[in-house]
Amino acid sequence: MATKKNPNKDVYISDVGVYHSNKSKQTFVFVLLCRILSIVMAILGLAAFVSGNF
C-alpha cells in the first residue's frame, strides 16, 4: 500500500480551483522574528546588567 506523504497544508483544493495559502510561511517568519527579538533582548539585558554592575 502506498504511504501518503505529509499533505501540503497550504494547498486548498476546491471546485473553482487550487488555492495556495501563505499561512505557514507567515507563521514561520513571525515565529522566527519573535525568537530573534527575544534573543536580542536577552543579550542586551545581560550586557546592560553586567556592564552596569561589574
Binding site: V40, A48, F49
Partner: protein, 242 residues
C-alpha cells in the same frame, strides 16, 4: 480584514495549545518585560540601556496598538464603546503607564522627567497576562478586596492614632508629623529600625502597646489572603476532578 483582526487577537492573547505564533509572542513579551526592568537595577544608564529602552518602547507600543485594535474581541461586543471601555480597564492603563518612561528619550533629562523612569515598575504588571499563577493571585485578591480594604482601614486608623499620641507625648523626638507616622508604621509592623526611639516612660509604653497590637493586626491580611488562596486551589482541583 475580520480574519486578520481575529488572528491578531488570538496571537496577542495568552497562547492556546498548538498556537506557535501566540506562544512565540508570549515569550517575546515576557522577555521584554523582564529585560525592561534591568535599567532599574543600575545606578546610571549605559549604551545598552539606551537600546533596551528603544526596543522595549517599540515592542510595547506595537502591543498596545494591537490590543486597542482588537478591543472589541476582548470586551465581547462590537461598538465604539468597546474600544473606549477597553482603554479604562486596569491592564490597558498599566500598558499605557509602561510606555511613559520612554518620554525621557525625547526630552532633556531633569529630576521630574527622571521620576517618569520609575514608571518602568508598571511593566512588571504586564506579566499578569502571561503567568497562570499571577492570574490566580489576581483572582484571589479580587475576591477578598472588601475584607482587605476593611483591614487596611483598621491598620491606617491605628497608625494615625499611635502617631498622634506619640507626637503629643514626645514632641522633641519628631521634626514633623510625618516622622511620627513613619515611627508608628515601623513599630506596628514590628520592623523597629531604631532610628527613632522614645525616651520617656509613657512613650515607651505606647511603643510596647503598638508592637503587641501590630503583631495581631499585621497578620490579618496574611490570613485573609491565605484562606482565599486555599479556597481557590480547592475550587480548581474539584473543577478538574469533575
Amino acid at each position: 480584514m475580520s480574519d486578520f483582526k481575529k488572528r491578531t487577537y488570538e496571537v496577542i492573547e495568552v497562547s492556546s495549545i498548538g498556537d506557535a505564533s501566540s506562544r512565540a509572542y508570549d515569550v517575546l513579551m515576557t522577555t521584554t518585560v523582564i529585560v525592561g526592568m534591568i535599567p532599574l537595577t543600575l545606578k546610571a544608564d549605559n549604551k545598552y540601556t539606551f537600546w533596551i529602552e528603544i526596543l522595549t518602547t517599540i515592542i510595547f507600543l506595537i502591543d498596545y496598538i494591537a490590543r486597542i485594535y482588537t478591543a472589541d474581541y476582548k470586551m465581547g461586543y462590537k461598538s465604539v464603546k468597546a474600544y473606549i471601555a477597553y482603554l479604562f480597564t486596569p491592564l490597558a492603563i498599566f500598558d499605557f503607564l509602561s510606555l511613559v518612561p520612554a518620554i525621557y528619550l525625547f526630552t532633556p533629562v531633569s529630576s521630574t522627567i527622571g521620576l517618569f523612569r520609575l514608571f518602568r515598575i508598571f511593566r512588571v504588571l504586564k506579566l499578569v497576562r502571561y503567568s497562570k499563577t499571577m492570574v490566580v493571585i489576581a483572582n484571589v485578591l479580587r475576591k477578598v478586596k472588601k475584607q482587605l480594604m476593611a483591614v487596611l482601614i483598621l491598620i491606617t486608623l491605628y497608625i494615625f492614632v499611635s502617631a498622634m499620641l506619640i507626637f503629643q507625648l514626645e514632641p522633641d523626638l519628631f521634626t514633623n508629623f510625618f516622622d511620627a507616622l513613619y515611627w508608628a508604621t515601623i513599630s506596628i509592623t514590628t520592623i523597629g529600625y531604631g532610628d527613632i526611639s522614645p525616651t520617656t516612660s509613657v512613650g515607651r509604653f505606647i511603643t510596647m502597646i503598638s508592637a503587641l497590637v501590630g503583631v495581631a493586626v499585621i497578620a490579618l491580611p496574611t490570613g485573609i489572603i491565605t484562606a482565599a488562596y486555599m479556597a481557590e486551589i480547592s475550587r480548581k482541583k474539584s473543577k478538574y476532578e469533575l
